[in-house]
């Protein structure tokens, strides 16, 4: 059954081997065809010319076919291209049998009858058979795998040479019988047939070799050549180049020839060369100029010179060797003209620009002297709208990715922003680029709470003071000093109206129609204009100024200068309060001296403490701490006398003492030591409470409990604790018991205390540190002010809930927003927190989503 099946199948689809296997000479003629019986369907075709019987012709054809194919068949083994020519010849080139030429001639002749019979079948064209059955099979089976192996090794350039060599040998062997024996038998020397065969062969090579490997190897080769030429320039100048040129030329020529001969050169190689050229340019720029910033910069000139003298030299070498192999294809290969060189130079400058753009953020962050060079390079690049757009988008994304993150402190961001302003002012004096880049930064900075404080702090910082904390914006102080000297230029800045300005330039093309360079585009101006209204800035300035005026001794040169500068920018009116504050302080000195001269007041009693005042017009000052607490009677009587003196001097005015502000110089006489400290007033009051009262025995160290202290001092807990920690830190007090908390004066440093300086004093020092750093600032912070206001809003809430019944949070907020004059400054969350505090305090009930007053 299977046999039958097979037979039927083979009769319809004859197995290919039967067709291709050459008919042996000895094969007897089959009877069926011998009698002129129809030989398949071919019989009808064959019978047309009909001078001879098909059978005889068939035998003749088969014989000739057998002879020819035997001659043309190749050994079933790989070709070893490394063997020398003679060996290869002996092995691969067969001797010509006497009947072969005749057989070939018969088979290839257009007019031979056998061929006519077989026209249309796949055995009529001997050359096609040779290519498809012999060459293809041999190539795929033996040559291709080894070629792929070679190319995979990626040994530049040897792999390419090896592969080329092999292909060359293979091609020669494949072509040999055709060139030497087949060609003569064909009409007009077989030119067309040979060319067709060669094209087929090249196509085969081209499409079977892994493209990426070839490209890799080829570009590797080009790169190697170029590094041979170009690296020489760096070390020994042109001398090396000259000496290495012939080598390169020779090698390139050889490779090109080889590739050309096996069909891998030409257009493909040109394409690869173009890519390689671009790569070389990029890598050269990267390796030579990346991170190298000098000022003044001649990088662009260097680069142009390099392109002209080295890079194009190399390209010319390669192209000319490509050209020399293929003189016929001159139109395909481009000549290198001067315009090309110029275009390459432009490309180089562009690539440099891209490199510098990518570096720009780093350059700005690590601003140093050389950085200016990078900016100068970029200046040559940002001449087209597209390059400007590229610069701004790249830079902006770098900024938002690397700078505008919660991890960066506001000081850092401001620092970088200052550098950005400086850099971009150099880069583009018109300010268009800066405007674009700065927007996101400014928007971000506005969101940060501490921006104003830092900016104002920076303005008032002392640039000469090296020791000040790192979070002070020193740059701003430096800039502030600078801008005092360059003030005059600002006036002449709006030069667009100045028709005599010979250096006038139109705004860049990418400037928006509305674009106008803001007058405040210098560092300080930019930072001050960060905030929509100057009020925020002025208010913050007022706070910080108040702080400094109260803390510092009489030396306000810097504050006065900053104030004058700000007055120039904001106008006198806005800064009137600051002006008054400053005057208050200066006046205080005079008034103070005057009051002290008043003998009647007896202020200069040498046994009583000295009292000096700062007299503030409280309407012009920011909210100040007004906590009240017990003041030592000596001081209090001084204050009373002082007040009298002041009131007689300024009839209509009264003094209100702010106890929490001010400094006290305390001198403590202990048994074994004397301590002199400059302290806050409440700290002084606390230590004064340890003064022995007349009824107490002063021979024992004085001890006070916390409850006593609270009672006598009437001070808020936080202040009291702050003061106690401070004195413990100074080793003046000691906590002797925790329940109830009791503190004792350390009259003498006992051995025990001195013996364990490590454990106790370290902790104490830390405590003292926190105590001093926690020293309350004189001016109430915005938050504290808001908290004070919250008490007022609480009354609103009470009124609302008493009269309107229970309400949900949302409604309360809405009511507050509408009823509070001047608007309600808190959000839902803040109010919720506050109300929750009241719920805990038993003032409110919260149930079912509504708040209800507790009666």
């Amino acid at each position: 059954m299977t046999a039958l099946h097979d037979r039927i199948f083979t009769s319809v689809f004859p197995p290919p081997s039967e067709v291709d296997v050459p008919t042996p000479t000895a094969t007897p003629i089959l009877g069926s065809s011998g009698f002129g019986e129809p030989f398949g369907s071919q019989h009808t075709n064959a019978s047309q010319p009909g001078t001879e019987t098909g059978a005889a012709e068939q035998i003749k054809w088969d014989r000739a076919w057998h002879t020819a194919t035997t001659f043309l068949s190749l050994r079933d083994e790989p070709i070893n291209a490394e063997q020398d020519e003679e060996t290869l010849k002996n092995k691969w080139i067969k001797a010509v049998e006497p009947e072969t030429p005749r057989a070939l001639a018969y088979l290839l002749s257009e007019s031979s009858r056998g061929r006519q019979i077989r026209r249309g079948s796949n055995t009529d064209d001997l050359l096609r058979w040779y290519f498809e059955e012999v060459v293809l099979e041999h190539y795929v089976k033996h040559v291709l795998p080894s070629l792929i192996q070679i190319l995979k090794k990626r040994q530049v350039p040897s792999a390419l040479f090896e592969a080329g060599q092999q292909l060359h040998v293979v091609k020669t062997i494949y072509m040999h019988p055709l060139q030497n024996h087949v060609a003569q038998t064909l009409s007009n020397g077989g030119g067309t047939e040979l060319a067709r065969f060669e094209t087929d062969l090249h196509g085969l090579f081209m499409h079977t070799l892994p493209q990426d490997k070839v490209v890799q190897n080829l570009s590797g080769f080009f790169e190697q050549q170029c590094s041979l030429i170009l690296n020489g320039v760096g070390k020994n100048g042109m001398q090396d180049v000259v000496s290495s040129v012939p080598v390169v030329r020779q090698r390139t020529l050889k490779l090109m020839q080889m590739l050309q001969s096996v069909g891998l050169g030409g257009y493909q190689a040109q394409q690869i060369l173009a890519e390689v050229m671009s790569d070389i340019l990029t890598s050269h720029i990267k390796s030579t100029y990346a991170g190298v910033w000098t000022s003044p910069s001649n990088v662009v000139e260097q680069l142009r010179d390099w392109v002209e003298n080295s890079f194009s030299r190399f390209v010319v070498e390669i192209i000319s060797s490509m050209k020399s192999i293929d003189p016929s294809g001159t139109d395909e290969i481009i000549d290198v003209s001067h315009a090309d060189v110029q275009r390459w130079q432009e490309m180089g400058v562009n690539k440099l620009g891209i490199l510098r753009t990518d570096e720009l953020f780093n350059a700005i962050v690590e601003w140093e002297n050389g950085t200016q060079g990078a900016i100068e390079d970029l200046k040559r690049y940002v001449t087209t709208p597209s390059s400007r757009a590229y610069l701004t988008t790249t830079f902006s994304s770098a900024v938002s990715y690397r700078l505008l993150q919660p991890g960066a402190s506001t000081t850092e961001i401001l620092q970088v922003y200052i550098s950005i302003i400086r850099a971009f002012t150099l880069l583009d004096p018109k300010g268009v680029l800066l405007d674009r880049v700065a927007r996101p930064i400014r928007r971000y900075l506005r969101e940060r709470d501490d921006t104003v404080t830092i900016v104002v702090g920076g303005l008032l910082a002392d640039p000469e003071d090296e020791s000040s904390a790192s979070d002070v914006l020193m740059d701003l102080a430096v800039e502030m000093n600078k801008s005092t000297t360059t003030k005059g230029e600002d006036e002449a800045d709006d030069g667009d109206i100045d028709y005599d300005d010979m250096k006038w330039m139109p705004d860049p093309v990418d400037a928006g129609p509305e674009f106008k360079k803001s007058k405040n585009s210098d560092v300080i101006g930019s930072l001050i204009s960060l905030f929509e209204s100057k009020d925020i800035f002025v208010k913050e300035f007022q706070n910080i100024l108040g702080e400094r005026l109260l803390k510092k001794e009489y030396d306000f040169d810097r504050e006065i200068r900053v104030l004058e500068l700000l007055k120039l920018r904001f106008g006198e009116a806005a800064l009137q309060a600051c002006e008054v504050m400053l005057r208050d302080i200066l006046d205080s000195r005079r008034v103070d001296a005057f009051i002290h001269k008043d003998k009647e007041l007896n202020l200069n009693d040498q046994y009583a403490p000295e009292l000096h005042t700062r007299i503030l017009s409280h309407l012009f000052w920011p909210s100040l701490h007004s906590e009240s607490f017990f003041i030592p009677p000596e001081v209090e009587s001084l204050q009373r006398r002082y007040s009298t003196g002041f009131e007689s001097l300024k009839q209509t005015r009264k003094l209100t003492w702010l106890h929490a502000l001010g400094q006290v110089t305390v001198s403590l006489d202990l048994e074994d030591r004397t301590i002199n400290e400059e302290v806050q007033t409440w700290q002084a009051s606390v230590i004064y409470a340890f003064q022995p009262s007349p009824s107490e025995d002063s021979s024992h160290p004085i001890t006070r409990t916390l409850t006593d202290l609270v009672e006598t001092l009437q001070m808020t807990d936080s202040l009291l604790h702050n003061a106690l920690t401070f004195w413990i830190g100074k080793l003046v007090l000691k906590q002797t018991s925790t329940s109830p908390p009791t503190y004792t004066v350390l009259e003498s440093l006992s051995d025990e205390d001195a013996a364990h300086p490590g454990t106790t004093s370290a902790a104490i020092a830390a405590a003292a540190e926190t105590a001093t750093s926690a020293a309350a600032p004189a001016v109430l912070s915005e938050h504290e002010v808001a908290q004070e206001k919250m008490e007022v809003y609480w009354q609103y809430v009470v009124g609302m809930l008493t009269n309107g019944g229970p309400m949900p949070l949302q409604q309360i907020v809405m009511m507050l927003k509408l009823t509070v004059t001047g608007g309600f400054p808190f959000g839902n969350e803040e109010l919720k927190d506050y109300l929750e505090g009241k719920v805990r305090g038993g003032k409110l009930d919260f149930a079912g989503g509504v708040y209800r007053i507790k009666h």
Binding site: Q795, G799, N803, T819
Partner: protein
């Protein structure tokens, strides 16, 4: 044709008049709102015990609700009373309309909550404000003006039978539901 021409000039004048009056009314409302906001602020800052008042709804500042606690030495001790304030657009040149919302048994208050108090009628002056009105009402609870009663029974009992009076006060009083 002629008619329309004749009437044409007349038309806008009417429009203008209405426009004028509307703007002036808006200005009035604005000034009232401002005044009431200030009063509210004062009220909140001073926080007198026993009285409080607040706008009833955020949309309309002209309607307020007020609360008075009954003075301790009167029949109204430990009771609270809700009142409504309706401010006219001409406030403070005209008095607000004040009504007791909580039912109250009082010689000068009728059963629908209307109050007989001279400063809310002819003795009104622009210097009075919500706070002074509330204080007057609070003192009215302890010292009714029995000469011009709205509730004759109450006026009579006030002097003759304080115990019965107190009983009626408690019987009449009922706390309004808090919505």
């Amino acid at each position: 044709m002629e008619d329309t021409q004749n009437s044409a000039p007349g038309q806008p004048s009417i429009h203008e008049a209405s426009k004028l009056s509307s703007t002036s009314r808006r200005q009035d409302t604005q000034s009232v709102t401002k005044r009431l906001q200030t009063e509210l602020m004062q009220l909140m800052l001073s926080s007198t015990p026993g009285i409080s008042a607040f706008p009833s709804s955020p949309e309309n500042l002209l309607n307020w609700t007020a609360t008075i606690a009954g003075p301790s030495d009167t029949p109204y001790a430990s009771l609270t009373f809700k009142l409504s304030f309706q401010f006219p657009p001409s406030y403070p040149y005209a008095p607000p309309t004040v009504l007791f919302k909580t039912p109250i048994f009082h010689p000068n208050v009728d059963f629908s909550g209307r109050i007989c108090l001279d400063i809310l009628k002819d003795k009104w002056s622009a210097v009075y404000n919500v706070q002074s009105v509330l204080l007057s009402l609070q003192s009215l609870l302890g010292e009714p003006n029995n000469a011009s009663p709205l509730n004759g029974q109450a006026a009579e009992l006030w002097d003759s039978d304080p115990i019965e009076f107190k009983r009626l006060v408690l019987a009449r009083h009922q706390d309004l539901d808090e919505e």
